[in-house]
């Protein structure tokens, strides 16, 4: 395990918080709507073989500039800015959920800027017979049920402990603002990109054929948010793609199944 260190860079949208560590070929991690990255075991594991870079998206953590980003177009241009700031030409990308969607949006527009991709339970598509479940307006406990298999996982347990904050301020008991604020900010930033259309881009599906990067889609068989058909559709329509289904895993498997994900990612990116 190689630790990642926090740093800040001045991007055109504002100050960006990032975590960086390890050495080898560059691998960019794009986090989910949960804003995870600091201390993530899967990244420390991968840092043994890659130079891992985990920028925090504007509106999450301590990164600024969300007011400059209205949609996925803006998000993609922000990623290009980060590539320039970090001196990246054609890195590998590992994206989870919302971050997987961003990786897809980048790869359909600028296929030459992504070497290989691993997408973990990505959102981004709309499938009429397999819609993405509702994530907004849920209590943390309800979200934990959707995102984790193991409700005893420390993050899942913490979300259950926050049950009092439902997003319904009328039902709230007195809650310390510092507990609520990071989640509030993360959901607000996610809403800018994914409230309507809900967590998808209607044009993405017909653009998937433009992707040139070999792509591995990792799906949790028990994902309570994104049905398995999404991963299957991506694999069918991205020219060079394969699917890995993790049995007994749910949505936030970057947290819940770090060892297996690290192995899958390392093997795929090194092949």
């Amino acid at each position: 395990m190689a630790p990642l260190h926090e740093e800040f860079v001045d991007a055109p949208v504002g100050k960006i918080q990032a975590f960086r560590g390890g050495s080898g070929a560059p691998l960019v991690y794009l986090h989910s709507a949960g804003g995870e990255a600091p201390g993530l075991a899967v990244l420390e594991d991968l840092a043994e073989r890659f130079e891992v870079l985990a920028p925090i998206f504007p509106g999450f953590g301590e990164s600024e500039g969300i007011e400059e980003i209205d949609d996925m177009d803006d998000a993609v241009f922000h990623l290009l800015d980060l590539w320039a700031l970090f001196g990246l030409d054609r890195p590998c990308v590992l994206g989870s959920s919302l971050g997987g969607w961003m990786a897809l949006e980048l790869a359909v527009r600028y296929p030459e800027r992504v070497a290989r991709m691993v997408l973990v339970n990505p959102v981004g598509l709309y499938l009429a017979d397999a819609p993405i479940a509702e994530m907004f307006g849920r209590s943390p406990a309800e979200l934990a049920e959707m995102l984790f298999v193991d409700q005893e996982h420390p993050i899942a347990a913490a979300m259950h402990a926050m049950e009092e904050f439902t997003g319904d301020v009328g039902k709230s008991v007195q809650i310390p603002i510092e507990l609520v604020l990071p989640m509030w900010k993360a959901l607000g930033a996610t809403a800018r990109l994914g409230w309507d259309p809900y967590l998808h881009d209607p044009k993405l599906r017909r653009r998937l054929r433009r992707i040139t990067a070999p792509t591995l889609v990792v799906a949790g068989a028990q994902d309570g948010l994104v049905p398995l058909q999404h991963a299957e559709t991506l694999v069918a329509e991205i020219p060079d793609a394969r699917l890995a289904v993790l049995e007994g895993a749910a949505h936030w498997l970057v947290l819940e199944r770090p060892e297996e994900l690290a192995v899958l990612t390392r093997d795929f990116l090194s092949s």
């Binding site: 301020v169 009328g170 409230w195």
Partner: protein, 389 residues
């Protein structure tokens, strides 16, 4: 002191076996159209009765896809009242601007009501409740931006000769040129309802509009809210006029305190337990961090959390009792808040027609004159000693 009769037009008779929220996902098969039609007509009669009883005006408001209030279009109700009344103000509190695209629709419809009423419209503009952002899929992260832009566009449409082109981030209209124009010049009086967002108070203070406190919190929360609003006006370099603030509160008057509670209590609990659940959902991005902090301060006192009658009385969630009790409590509360507009909800929850009418009559005959003596027009309303109590 100006007196308004505010109607929510609630759905009475919600299926007792249904125990979910009254908002967003409350199944619309529970709405009986024939019963709903009877309710609309009854409620319009109650609004029009206010003019007969000498109220200064009536208020209607906008909510969508819920059992709490059956007015997805308050403008329809206001236009009927405008046509069938002759003297009183007709306040639409308000139109949820971000839900209108293009928002010139609001400029048009408000001008229609102002024309029909001969200049009696009060134009309310509101960001819209949290549930509406779920019901409309309008992005809550842009609610404030859209509200601001829509407001600017409507005001320009009313005050600048058309046609002109409008280009802002969320709205682009090549020819803004609404017919009709409002009777009141340069524009109707503007009210903005708010639930404690700091940004909203600053906006109202800056434009010298009137701030209406959204109800169902304890009196202490309103004391802080209206205090913050007075501060916001002071920060703009002027002292808030009492008519720049309005307090919306359920009121019920009967012959005695005991009779009032006996007649009213079950209807209030129908409101609290059946119609309020779901109203306070806050969609992501809808509230800024600093406003969230302020709103959370009051959240624990929201009426949904109240379960016994003594709390209702102590927190002044509703003013209920004999004419003497109601007068006394209102004098104290209005002095503490400094609000020159009293917006009474004289029908609440499942309160039936006969009790609603008698409530309006007793208030108009016994309470209103006493409050008018206590707070003469033009005199200050705010009493720091009451606020400190």
């Amino acid at each position: 002191m100006r007196f308004f009769s505010f109607h929510l037009m609630p759905y009475i008779g919600l299926d007792p076996s249904y125990d979910g929220p009254a908002w967003v996902t409350c199944p619309n098969q529970l709405f009986d159209p024939v019963h709903g039609g009877a309710l609309y007509n009854r409620y319009l009669d109650e609004l029009l009765y206010a003019e007969e009883l000498g109220f200064d005006g009536v208020c209607v408001n906008e909510h969508h896809q819920n059992a709490y209030g059956l007015m997805p279009s308050p403008n329809l109700m206001a236009s009927i009242v405008a046509r069938q009344s002759t003297r009183m103000k007709v306040a639409v509190v308000g139109n949820a601007l971000p839900l209108y695209d293009p928002p010139t629709r609001v400029a048009e419809e408000f001008a229609m009501i102002d024309c029909i009423s001969g200049g009696r419209l009060i134009a309310g503009m509101v960001v819209g409740g949290g549930p509406e952002y779920y019901s409309f899929s309008v992005n809550p992260a842009y609610a404030r931006e859209r509200f601001q832009e829509a407001h600017d566009l409507i005001l320009k449409a009313w005050t600048t000769p058309g046609p002109f082109e409008w280009v802002s981030k969320h709205y682009r209209i090549r020819y803004v040129n609404p017919w009709p124009r409002p009777v009141q010049q340069p524009h109707p009086e503007i009210w903005i309802p708010g639930a404690g967002s700091v940004e909203t108070m600053e906006f109202v203070a800056r434009h010298r509009y009137a701030y209406m406190g959204i109800p169902y919190f304890s009196l202490d929360v309103f004391k802080r809210t209206f205090g913050m609003f007075r501060d916001a006006c002071a920060a703009e370099g002027y002292e808030a006029d009492p008519l720049q603030a309005g307090w919306l509160v359920p009121i019920y008057v009967a012959e005695t305190d005991a009779q009032a509670r006996r007649e009213y209590e079950e209807h209030l609990w129908y409101f609290v337990k059946r119609l309020l659940p779901g109203i306070t959902i806050q969609p992501p991005g809808y509230t800024s961090a600093r406003s969230l902090a302020n709103i959370l301060k009051g959240a624990g006192t929201f009426m949904l959390n109240v379960t016994d009658w003594d709390e209702i009385v102590a927190g002044r969630y509703a003013i209920v009792g004999s004419p003497e009790t109601v007068t006394e409590q209102l004098v104290e509360a209005l002095g503490a808040l400094g609000t020159g507009n009293l917006l009474g909800l004289f029908q609440l929850g499942s309160l039936p027609a006969d009790l609603t009418r008698r409530n309006l009559e007793l208030f108009a005959r016994e309470v209103k004159p006493a409050l008018e003596r206590e707070f003469p027009a033009g005199a200050p309303v705010y009493r720091p000693t009451a606020a400190a109590a």
